[in-house]
Amino acid sequence: MESWSWARVWQRSRRNWHWPLLPPPRLYFRPGETKQAGEFSFSNYQIALDEEILNQGPLYLESLFDHLIAHYVFCPRSLEGASILARSALEGLKSPDPDKARALVNIFSDIVVDSLRLERSETDREKVLLSWKKLAIEQDLMELDRVVLGLLRRYWEADLPACTRTEVSLLERVFSAGFREQSLWPRQCRQIARILEPLLPGILGRGPVRCLEILNGSADVLPLAGAEDLEPGQYNLVSSALGLEGDLVRWYRDQSYSITIQEAPRARSEEHPSGPERWRLTDPCSELDVAYSLSLSPRLIPGVTTYKRGREKGLMAPLGRGVPDLLVVLDSSRSMEGHRLGSKTHRATLAAFKACRYAHSKGAMLAAINFSEKYLSLPWTRDLSAVERTLVEFFSTRTHIPGEAIRALAEERPGCLILCITDTHIQNLYQEWEEVERAALAGSFVLFCIDQDYKDRHVEGALAGLGRVYYINRLEDLVSIVVEITGRAYAGESFIS
């Protein structure tokens, strides 16, 4: 088949689905095959055609295109939808495995999109069943495939091979609730995972999860839905099921997207010139606008033909002002409990991430110190990723604040904002006191003490002299307070009393 013909089939499929904005398919050449002029091969490209597919004929090709387009416009559609399904599949599995989850998401979404195609147009029935019938005559059909074909036979009343296994009835019950209700998909996918797990693997479900962001190659930079409810390990599994690389930096980044900083910039109230007003004898002579008055009348008669420039008070846009650079000092000692949901480290790192991201968006330079018994210091930079990588380190040893490093960084950028988040179990506070004091003089020092129980009257008094100190009673408040303080600092308010 010539290239023009499959291009025409692609356009026909797009027309069937109201012209979705999808990149066109490409011919995929296996290694060793000759490459045609103007074509290129990406092995990871989602809509890729090879000779074997083209040899199946135009009807099969149109069916394939329709199926793929339905994936991109309906299920799982987006990275968010795909991540919700992958998470559900993992929850349903007794032994969570990203490859199994990916296969189950693919099987579920295949059934959903083809059910949609069947419901959408009765005339497409033959086209929809074409690929399933092709699967049914495969020699190496496995138990999983037989069960799914048995389900489709019953569910669609289609001419497909029957299967007597009990799993078919269970699957039929899952889909008897319908397939259009998207709020049901996570439950249905989880249930399918429970039913089909013992039968994995099969021919069905191979290949990547098909969603728009993965197709467009932007999945790496988009937030994954529901990251705030997942432990780092679960997050990595979900990412892996979607073919992405999940790590701690991305875990924190995805959670911080949902935290919003409300900006409330204050307008300045100042006098500004307005229209001409009558100058009277009681007004100062300096205010008389002689040129303007003479332009209206050849003789200056006070109070009659004399004018001055009027001024009025009103709200004006705030003046542009320099943004303070941000130095984040983060405690990663053992008492901070490590990277897991709801721990001190989790809240502190999340707050630091959000503060850094916000300051970065305002054009501030960033620096970071992550300390325990030893410390990691990142000099002033605009590289947000480097800062984030520094913040996610977890040393898990004793708490020794690196006063000299803080002072050195603070003195490099006088007036910077220093956010220090710790549980205040600092063992060398008095040894480093002078350095910390000098750092606080160079910048605006804001200390967030997480552990209220450890509050010491003498330490409290000493720390209060450095700048503003916040004692956090409830760990949940930490993120909101840090975000609020950062928001205030960059919105131009005085946040240090």
Partner: protein
């Protein structure tokens, strides 16, 4: 009216017979699915609300094998099924069968643990041995079992229980009402901290019978073990023969 419904009514002959049906959001797929929806602390009202009245749904859930996570939910469903059933319901020997049963009848060959817990009415008949915590915290109704293990009828508030054979230890612990009859013997500390209600044992009772009891009535036709009525504050204990160190006021029937 939705557009699809309007089109279906306007063009009935055009409607595809093989169209997959639009389903119900409330359908429960399995016990695990129900457990996912209910959360960590299931209660009868939430189970009742989600499962609904549909018989086929209840039957499907009842026929499932409940894991540890779904045992309580299965127990509630067994009660719902028994209450709706016009005749006695035969159940397999899973834990928590007849949990908070209000009416109806449950028949079981064997019983797991916690059978008939917090029941308020109806009957449970166990043909063979029952596990621990039989009829715990029951308020009404009746249970008949061939025999039972420990903690049977613990903190019973009302209703009745009959054990045709032997009962285990701690029978009727902390009871504030109800009646218990054991045709065989019972283990140690029967009627411990009993405040009200009646306990009748045709055979023998173990040691510390009626320990710390403050009310109610205990009758043992056979012999009681040592220290019967130890630190008793009220109620009455009578036994055919008393063991050593029986407390004052404990009646020996002779």
């Amino acid at each position: 009216m939705k557009l699809s419904s309007f089109m279906d009514s306007a063009y009935p002959q055009e409607r595809a017979p093989t169209r997959p049906s639009k389903g119900r959001k409330d359908m429960i797929f399995s016990l695990e699915d129900l457990a996912d929806r209910i959360g960590e602390r299931p209660d009868r009202s939430s189970v009742e609300e989600l499962v609904g009245e549909e018989r086929s749904q209840i039957d499907l859930l009842l026929s499932s094998q409940p894991g540890k996570r779904c045992a309580l939910i299965w127990g509630y469903i067994s009660s719902l099924a028994a209450e709706k059933s016009p005749e006695a319901l035969h159940l397999p020997s899973f834990d928590y069968a007849g949990l908070e049963l209000a009416k109806g009848c449950i028949m079981m060959d064997r019983a797991g643990d916690h059978v008939g817990e917090r029941m308020r009415g109806g009957r449970i008949v166990v043909q063979q041995e029952a596990g621990d915590y039989l009829g715990q915290e029951m308020k009404g109704g009746g249970i008949v079992a061939a025999s039972c293990r420990d903690y049977a009828f613990r903190q019973m508030k009302g209703g009745w229980g009959v054990v045709k054979g032997d009962a285990g230890k701690f029978l009727g612990l902390g009871n504030t009402g109800g009646r218990i009859a054991v045709q065989g013997s019972c283990g140690q500390r029967a009627g411990w901290m009993m405040r009200s209600g009646r306990l009748y044992v045709r055979g023998d009772a173990g040691e510390y019978l009626g320990l710390l009891m403050s009310g109610g009535e205990i009758r043992i036709l056979g012999s009681a073990g040592r220290r019967a009525g130890w630190q008793r504050k009220g109620g009455s204990i009578a036994a055919g023969r008393l063991g050593q160190e029986a407390a004052d006021g404990v009646l020996e029937l002779g």
